[in-house]
Each structure stands twice: as C-alpha cells, then as structure tokens.
C-alpha cells in the first residue's frame, strides 16, 4: 500500500483505494479455468491408466467356467451335499468353485469320486440336478499363461498373448527394416547433400506422406503392395492378408517421421565439425557418415525409438492388410516349423492393435471376456509405447546437453 502523497495532490480515500491490491475475482476465475485446461491432460493420462488397469483387473480376476468332462453320477436333490461323480475328466480340488447347471458350489472335500460341497454359494439357487449333468470348474485367467501362452482365444479359455505380441513384433521388425535405412538415408541426403531448392521441394512431399491417413495406407497395402509382392516375388506362396505387405507399408508410413527427426538431429550438428573434417581432407561421405552421423547419433537413435513405438501402435494398416484372427501356434513350432507361426511374414496374422480393432468393431457386450481382454492388450500396448517414448525423450535430452 502506497500512502505517501505525491506532489501536492490530495490523498483522497478514492485514490488510496484504487492503489490497494485488490482481489480481482474474474482474473482468478480465468486463471482457474486455464489451470483446469492444463490439468485436463493429466487427467487424460490418469484416465487412460485407470481405465486400462481397471478393465485389465476385471480380465485377470474374472471367473470363467471350464468344462471338466466330469458329470454327476446320480440324481441329487437340494439337500444332498455329498454325491458321486463320473470317473472321467479332470480332478477337482478342495476349495474349487464348481458349477452344475446354474448352481455354484464350493468343494469342501474330495474322496475318490465322491464330492462334498457347499451348495448354492454366491447367492445361486439350490436346485435338483439329474445324473449326467456336466460339472464345470471355475478358472481364473492365469496371469502366467497370458505372458507365456501361445494361443489367444479368450472364449475358449486360451489366454496366451504371444500370437498377438509376436505378430506385432514381426510387423515392427519388417517396418523398421524398411523405415530406418530409408528414413536415415533420406535424412542424410537432405541434411548433407541436398541444395536448398531440393530441400524445399522434397520436405513438403514428405510432409504430405506423413499427413495421409493411415487407412489410406491400409488400402495401399491391400490393393497394391500385396498384389505387387505376389506378382513380383512370391506367387501363390503369399496370402491375400500377410504381415509382410502390412509391415512394408507401415515402414513406408514411418519414413517421414524417421527422416524428419533424423534430419533435425543431423542439422543440429555444428558446421564447425564438418569444417574440421573437410580441413583434414575428408570427403563429403566420410564427413557425413563418420563425423556428422556419430555426432547426431543420440538424436537419430531417439528417432528410431519413436519410430518403433509408432510401428507398434499402428493400427489401420494392419487391420486392413495383415489379416483377421490371431495366428495361434505352439512354442515348439518356432524351432521346427516356424512357417506356421506368426514369424512367417507371408501368412496372415493379427497384431495387438488389429485384434482390438476387430473385436471392438463388432457389437461388443460390455461384460464379455472379449471386452475385458482388449483392455489387457491395450495396457500392454500402452506400457510398451510409453516406455519407448520416455526412452526416446531421455536420449534427446542427453543429446541437447552436448552442444548447448
């Protein structure tokens, strides 16, 4: 508060008030709104994590009933707690929840083929059952199987995510084989060789390529790349839907990303390093490959990592061109008969993203195992890409420190 009179102005009450610090409520309100906008993005992330975790937990804790091939041997009334079962099928253990018709029971004791149970648990109705009724046992989605199993058919109680992961990796590897060399080589040309004129023509073209919706690339993969591969190389050996063509096109789609990020990194290398190299009698190639590129290596690596993340998350190309249905396999086949596994690029295979799209494209019931399962896949996908993006930014940050 200022209260010393200036010159000979009378310090009236009004002036004093106007100089006092006021709580400008509308300023506060606006600032509050702006903060809210900023925080919304944090909520988005929290939302993603919570939702993926929540549904994944439902997936892992969900009860599914599996056929035991065992059935009741005699009719049982509502009061019977001990009854005989057929000899066939899997053995039951104490504590297991079983289902007969619509009634749930908990196994209290097993004595040979005779079963002692608590009837009608979890609020199910105790009812009369006739001989030969199937006994189903409750299973949880086995956590271990999800990350080791090689068959993914949740409705058939097969929860191995590897068919999806492996084809995702397959697509990523193929696309990286295409995108990394081509993207990097283009970046080197643009940064080290191209004239300003060439650069001003080519860079917008790359931007156009980057701006084309991925579904268009999917169309391209299906209607051009696959027929092309078929005619030029593989003939009947290649299926209409295959990971090779999808992978190549994903690679093409990523070229602009790799090339522009790499070019930024190459461009950031100070001219003085190039001069030093030329001053020693190096050729342009030696300068580009052995001075500039190593100096920009962290930036280029960051570009590569982002590219991998992008390839893993890419959806529409694989949804259109890679095929529908997970390619289930046996681990032993990987060594003996890999052609029948997702490792065969000429056959169709479904990736994580492709699976999510296909499953959610149908009218999906919110309580189904399929619904829960795509969130579990989404969680894995989210974690992989998030990790890759964080790694990439770490690398870039380190690389900035070197030259600033």
């Amino acid at each position: 508060m200022i209260n010393s009179p200036v010159h000979d102005i009378d310090l009236t009450e009004d002036v004093a008030l106007s100089l006092r610090k006021k709580t400008k409520w509308h300023e506060t309100l606006i600032q509050g709104a702006l903060v809210a906008c900023g925080i919304l993005s944090v909520f988005t992330t929290i939302g993603i994590v919570v939702i993926l975790l929540n549904e994944s937990i439902s997936f892992f804790t969900r009860e599914v009933f599996e056929i035991t091939n065992k059935s009741i041997a005699t009719d049982i009334g509502p009061a019977d707690t001990t009854f005989e079962t057929t000899a066939s099928g899997s053995t039951l253990v104490v504590g297991q929840i079983v289902r007969v018709d619509d009634e749930l029971m908990e196994v209290l004791a097993v004595d040979g083929l005779s079963l002692t149970v608590e009837r009608g648990i979890q609020g199910t109705e105790v009812s009369f059952h006739t001989a030969d009724e199937e006994i189903e046992k409750s299973v949880r989605v086995p956590f271990r199987e999800v990350f080791t199993g090689s068959r993914w058919q949740p409705r058939l109680q097969q929860f191995g995510m590897w068919p999806l992961i492996l084809s995702t990796l397959m697509i990523s590897v193929i696309s990286m084989i295409v995108a990394l060399p081509l993207g990097l080589a283009s970046a080197i040309y643009l940064s080290e060789y191209a004239s300003n004129r060439t650069r001003s023509i080519v860079k917008p073209i790359l931007e156009v390529l980057a701006g084309i919706p991925t579904v268009v690339y999917g169309y391209f993969a299906l209607t051009f790349m696959t027929p092309f591969l078929e005619r030029a190389f593989f003939g009947d050996n290649i299926q209409v839907f295959n990971t090779l063509s999808a992978g190549i096109v994903v690679g093409v789609l990523i070229i602009p990303l790799v090339s522009s990020m790499s070019e930024d990194a190459l461009h950031a290398v100070p001219q003085s390093l190039r001069n030093a190299s030329y001053g020693l009698g190096a050729t342009k190639l030696e300068t580009a490959l052995r001075v500039v590129l190593p100096a920009a290596l962290s930036g280029v690596t960051a570009a590569f990592v982002v590219a991998i993340s992008r390839a893993i998350g890419e959806t529409m190309v694989v949804a259109v061109a890679a095929g529908a249905g997970p390619r289930n396999f046996e681990w032993s086949q990987v060594f003996t008969n890999y052609g029948e596994t997702p490792l065969n690029p000429l056959q169709s295979a479904e990736t994580m993203t492709g699976h999510i799209v296909r499953i959610s494209g149908g009218d999906l019931s919110y309580n189904s195992i399929d619904y829960n399962s795509i969130f579990a896949i989404g969680l894995v996908l989210f974690l992989i890409t998030l990790t890759l993006n964080i790694i990439s930014r770490r690398i870039v940050e380190r690389f900035r420190e070197v030259y600033d």
């Binding site: 003085s272 390093l273 190039r274 001069n275 190299s277 030329y278 001053g279 009698g281 001075v291 100096a295």
Partner: protein, 262 residues
C-alpha cells in the same frame, strides 16, 4: 616442381585472387607469395575478407555454395583450382585450424587417429598419436586420458588438440583462422609458442585480429583493408613483419597498427 631458386622458397602463391559470395566480391585481386617454413600473418579490420582469403588457399570456400573464385592459387607449380585438382587432396596438404576449437565428439585418441585413418595412414597409430600430440605440446596434459572425449578439455587444450589433429595428417601448410580469439592470454601464449616450433616443419598462414600477436609471432604480414566504395577487401601492404611494424609504407597501415581504426 620448378627448379628456380626463388620458387623453392615459396610454399604457395596467390595470383590475382578475387572471391565472390553471390554478386558480392569479398576480396579482390590479391597477389601474395607465402614463404616456405615461415609464418605469414593476415591482419585487417573485421569483415575485410581475411578468413575468405585464407579459405581460398585450401578450397574451403568450395563448401559455401554461393561462393566463386577468380585467379589462381599456385602450389608446387599447380593451380589448385584447375579442374583436375581434387579439393579433398588439397585440404590434406593444406590443413586448417579454425577460430573456435572444434574437436570431434570422440575420444582424444580418435580425434587424432581419425584424420590419419581416412587418409590411408599405414604406420603405427599409437606412435602417430603420441608424436602429433607432442608436436602440439599437449601430450603431457592428455597422455593419461586419451580415451576421454575431446570435448572434456579446456578451450586452449582443445585448440592444441585441433592443431595436433591437423599435424597428424602431415600437411605442408597449416592455415590458422584466428586460432586464439576464443582463448585466454595464457592459452594464447602457448599456441604462439607452439607455432614457432611448428614453423620448422610447416609453413603457417595465420589470420589474426591481434596486432601484438602478428608482431610477436609472424615473419611476414599482409595488411588487408576494406575498399570504402565496394566494401570488398584488398591488400594494402605485404612485407616482413619487422619492417611493417617499424616502418609502415602506407598511411592506412600505420593508422591501423597504431590502433587509430579497426
């Protein structure tokens, strides 16, 4: 190589050299004989074209797309700008040290070895590294940390590393463009000392902004100035350093070296 006694003492010769950046002529009509195993200094006000002229000697200006050059640089009886001359080979013979130290972001060892390797060096690399670092008077400071990054050294050390790197490819002439401008006085003195040692094996051309440095450490001095009308640089005076600093022939030179302008 010519047999004439005169030319054996000349390392490189500029004949009527003009360099353009687009339409702008940065330096014009320079004629200059650089004596073998001597230090020749270019002095002059900022922007008068010293660096431009220096770069003309090893065709570094080729790397600037808009630049163009008239005249000849004659080295061993050959015009370096002839169509059949390879600039890569020129730069190997006529090395360069830059204003700002620019070691490669590699180890100290690699900084030296790299240039040698690309030029097809066949000898013992360790020996070459040691010898080059010694001749740049930095061996004792770095011999225990050869695998550390060149960027970890101080500015003066970095510049000596750059000199060592240049020396390693065995050039005949070393061009130095204000090698000390980014350095403190002690580091500057060290480099000047080093130049005197190198003078025995190499011909050195140095651009400097610093009159004392030119007076202290060069044998010949060329004074360049900017033409007031077309702003292009021209050579006002070229003579033995001692002569120029004690008895300048030209009014401008005198004004410049006594610090009245520039």
């Amino acid at each position: 190589m010519s047999d004439s006694n005169d030319s054996t003492n000349i390392a490189v010769q500029a004949k009527d050299v003009s360099v353009y950046y687009g339409d702008f002529r940065a330096v014009k009509n320079i004629n200059l004989d650089v004596a073998r195993n001597k230090i020749t200094a270019f002095i002059g006000p900022s922007g008068c074209g010293k660096s431009t002229l220096l770069r003309a000697f090893n065709r570094m200006n080729d790397l600037i797309p808009i630049s163009r050059m008239d005249g000849e640089i004659v080295y061993r009886g050959k015009n370096l700008y002839d169509a059949d001359v390879d600039p890569v080979e020129v730069r190997r013979r006529i090395g360069m040290v830059f204003q700002k130290p620019n070691p490669f972001p590699k180890s100290i060892y690699e900084n030296i070895a790299w240039g040698a390797r690309i030029n097809g060096y066949k000898g013992n690399m360790d020996e070459l590294v040691e010898e080059s670092l010694r001749s740049a008077a930095i061996w004792d400071e770095v011999k225990d940390k050869l695998d550390q990054s060149g960027l970890s050294l101080s500015g003066g050390q970095q510049q000596r590393l750059c000199i060592a790197r240049t020396v390693a490819v065995k050039p005949e002439i070393i061009l130095m463009d204000e090698p000390c401008s980014a350095l403190d006085p002690i580091a500057t003195l060290k480099i000047e000392e080093l130049m005197r040692q190198l003078q025995e094996q190499y011909t050195i051309i140095i651009v400097t902004h610093n009159m004392q440095q030119a007076a202290r450490s060069s044998d010949y001095t060329a004074f360049l100035n900017m033409d007031t009308t077309d702003r292009s640089g021209y050579m006002v005076e070229f003579s033995e350093t001692s002569a120029m600093f004690t008895n300048p022939q030209n009014q401008q030179t005198e004004e410049y070296i006594t610090g009245r302008f520039g």
